[in-house]
C-alpha cells in the first residue's frame, strides 16, 4: 500500500527518558513533516524537511531533534521527555512542486509521558 507509516503507534514512557518515533513514506514525495496534536485536537507543525534539508523549524524545544536519513524517512528523537510532551505526533509528506492535494498524513503516534 502506498502510504505514510509511523512506528510505534503507542508509546508510554517515564519522564526524563529519551525516545524516538520513526516515519516512512513510499509516495515518492520529497518533503516530510512532523506535527503535534494536543489533547484539544489542535494540530501544529513542528518541522519540515525537503530532500533531507531542514526547511521549517517552528519554536520547538531543542530536546526535539528530527533526522532525515533519506527523503523517504523522517524520524523524531525526543530527549528528556516531559509531561507536556504527551500528545499525538503525526508525520506527513508532500511533493514540493505539487500545489494540490495537500499533505498525506500518517496514522499518528500517541505518546504518553508518566
Amino acid at each position: 500500500d502506498t502510504a505514510v507509516s509511523q512506528t510505534p503507534k503507542y508509546l508510554v514512557t517515564q519522564m526524563g527518558n529519551d525516545k524516538s518515533i520513526k516515519c516512512e513514506q513510499n509516495l515518492g514525495h520529497d518533503t516530510m513533516y512532523w506535527y503535534k496534536q494536543d489533547s484539544k485536537k489542535f494540530l501544529k507543525i513542528m518541522f519540515s524537511y525537503n530532500n533531507k534539508e531542514l526547511i521549517i523549524n517552528e519554536t520547538v524545544p531543542n530536546r526535539f531533534s528530527p533526522k532525515s536519513p533519506d527523503k523517504a524517512h523522517l524520524n523524531l528523537h525526543i530527549n528528556s521527555l516531559e509531561l507536556g510532551d504527551s500528545a499525538v505526533y503525526f508525520c506527513a509528506s508532500s511533493q514540493a512542486s505539487s500545489t494540490t492535494k495537500g499533505q498525506f498524513f500518517g496514522p499518528g503516534t500517541r505518546l504518553t509521558v508518566l
Binding site: K41, I45, A96, Q103, F105
Partner: protein, 114 residues
Amino acid sequence: GESVGLHLPTLSVQEGDNSIINCAYSNSASDYFIWYKQESGKGPQFIIDIRSNMDKRQGQRVTVLLNKTVKHLSLQIAATQPGDSAVYFCAENIKGWGAQKLVFGQGTRLTINP
C-alpha cells in the same frame, strides 16, 4: 446547521441533512486552502482543496466556499451519512516557503445522528 471553527465546537446533524462547517483563516496572503477529515484514532485525511483565485469548488457531496474579503472558508457536506462523523479541519498554506506550510484551524467535531 452550521458552526464557527477555532475552538473545536461540536455540530450535530441528522443523517441525510446537509451540514456547513465554517472556518476563519488568519493570513490574507495565503494562496491555498484545504479541508481535512480526521476520524477517531487516525490521521487527517484530505477532503477537498481550493486555490485563492477561486471562490467555490465542488467534489462528491462536498463543496468548499472561499470568501477572501472576510477571510472565511466553509465546507458544505450534502446528504450526510454516519461515516461523515469526524473532526474537520481547515488549513491555509502560508506562502513563501519551499514547501507547504500549513496552519490548521482548531477543528469542528461533526456528529451524524441516525
